[in-house]
């Protein structure tokens, strides 16, 4: 099998996000970048399938983004991915999810994967739309927000358990297919020291504008229909109202306030 794993470099969850002076971007100063946590589940799942099949299965990590994307590809290689592709070109900068999906789909197409794995969403824009858009462009079925993947014995079909409101949905797909991964799917491994050493020597293949076959004006910011108007800080909440007294008094007063002041019960 050929497995493609999509990974993205995103700000660490603990990072403070500060709006830049222009109001239309995030100040990168002091932000630490990591592999998107949901993509770690995707890399791990790809590696587990490869290890289970014990055949000529390969796992190729693909990332689109600026130079720092190469760092998360290096992490994927250190975890055990066989190859890495960095989709990068000045023309790709500032693209919206749908535009980036078109570029990524053409970068992936020549690899002819049986399975594409990604995170359920990237924790920067939280849009959760690049992966399903790639599935549509490549004509693949999809299962999103998945906590379990089972391949049939002949590796021709996959059954995925996906989270929905109040339950799970079992989605049966013929391969090739795309799956986005949710917490609970697996426990991602840490890169081993030999893995890290080996990853340092591996070549990261670059895919640019010429390779994906688009004109510069149809990709990146120029090719995107979505435009940032501005970023806003969260509105301030009014100061907290502390309710004192013993438990019975607190409970009585809280219920009164929720009813008469907040009017929510």
């Amino acid at each position: 099998m050929k497995i493609v794993v999509l990974v993205k470099s995103v700000p660490d969850t603990e990072s403070k996000i500060k709006i830049a002076a222009d109001g239309t971007s995030i100040d990168p100063q002091g932000v630490k970048f990591i592999m998107n946590p949901y993509d770690e589940f995707a890399v791990e799942e790809g590696l587990r399938i490869k290890e289970r099949l014990k055949d000529d299965t390969t796992v190729v990590a693909v990332s689109m983004g600026p130079d720092r994307a190469a760092e998360v590809l290096r992490t994927a290689l250190a975890m055990g991915a066989d190859d890495a592709i960095h989709v990068s070109d000045p023309a790709f900068e500032g693209g919206d999810s749908q535009t980036n999906a078109r570029v990524l789909a053409e970068a992936i197409r020549p690899l002819a994967p049986d399975l594409i794995l990604g995170g359920k969403q990237a924790i920067d824009y939280d849009a959760a739309q690049t992966c399903p858009a790639i599935a549509e462009i490549l004509g693949m079925p999809q299962a999103l927000i998945v906590t379990e993947i089972k391949l049939s014995d002949d590796n021709k079909t996959a059954t995925a358990r996906r989270r929905i409101e109040g339950g799970d949905e079992m989605v049966e797909m013929s391969l090739p297919a795309l799956v986005t991964c949710e917490k609970g799917l697996n426990e991602p491994r840490y890169a081993s020291l030999p893995g890290i050493m080996k990853a340092k020597k591996k070549e990261i293949k670059k895919v640019g504008l010429a390779e994906v076959g688009f004109k510069a004006e149809s990709v990146g910011a120029a090719g995107s229909k979505s435009k940032v108007v501005r970023y806003h800080n969260l509105p301030d909440r009014p100061p907290v109202k502390m309710i004192a007294g013993d438990a019975a008094t607190q409970a009585k007063e809280l219920v009164r306030l929720l009813r008469e002041e907040a009017k929510v019960i």
């Binding site: 739309q129 299962a143 999103l144 989605v171």
Partner: protein, 329 residues
Amino acid sequence: MANGVLVYGEVRDGSLKAITKELAGAASQLSQAGAGPVSLALIGDATAVDAALPAARALPVAKVFVARNTALASYSSQGFAIALESVIKASGATVVLFGATALGRDLSARAAARDGASLFTDCTELSWAGGKLRVKRPVYSGKVILELESSAALQMASVRPNVFAPAGAGGSAEVVEVAVSINDADIRGRVKEVVRTSTGKKDLTEAEVIISGGRSLKSSDNFKILDEMAEALGATVGASRAAVDAGYAPHSMQVGQTGKVVNPKLYFAVGISGAIQHLVGMRTSKVIVAINKDANAPIFQRADYGLVGDLFEIVPKITEELKKLRSSH
């Protein structure tokens, strides 16, 4: 250039979901601002469509575009995207709204790629400005809000549940049948089975009232005091990551960055200190109540009402007060 707003009508178990009524409300607002007439898409096999049609027609929409096909008996991203494409063309709409639900997220991203549309997901505000859809959506795990607009000829958005008030009933929309041709070869994946994990209660992402417990609950058994309070309030019970990691509650109940993002009108954080990972999952809640024994817990900086004390004493007293309230009505 505005030719109207199409609302995707989401059907589960033969009924139209609450989010669809909320979207009809949102679409009416866009329409009043100049976005054109509101219509609704109802897609599925005859059984599903016919079951939901009366409720769909009663919404304040001009037309209900109906696509019935036996190939749509169970949900498939591919089949429904094909059907929706035909409905969008028939309606002439330039804006399409989905719920930011499991199904709405699955279908909208796929439909946007198929139809060359722009898509804004999980929006918490929608407006119509200068002939364009303008949205606000939380990004970076809800640490900041991003305002966006689109210049696409077809503009799609998914909207977080509980943002808009549901539209009232009483309409009688015209029904327009849309022919959809789908080949078996077009659908290479579909839903085979739905496994219910919670019965009766609203899902956290759709609940109007949520009571979440933290590690201070000390055991899964102790969550029953939250269940009792939830019973009295018609609420859904959630949990913090610390409580889930400790094994007191399943991950499906987790509210926060690696759990569910919720948007209720009333949220109780019980024995939850308020780590950033939890706050990003619940901070758009309209009213937040924090109950914690530690007066310095960060959750109090995010709450509207704070109670310092022993949750095992306070929670049962609140349940008592709520029951009194119910019996007096």
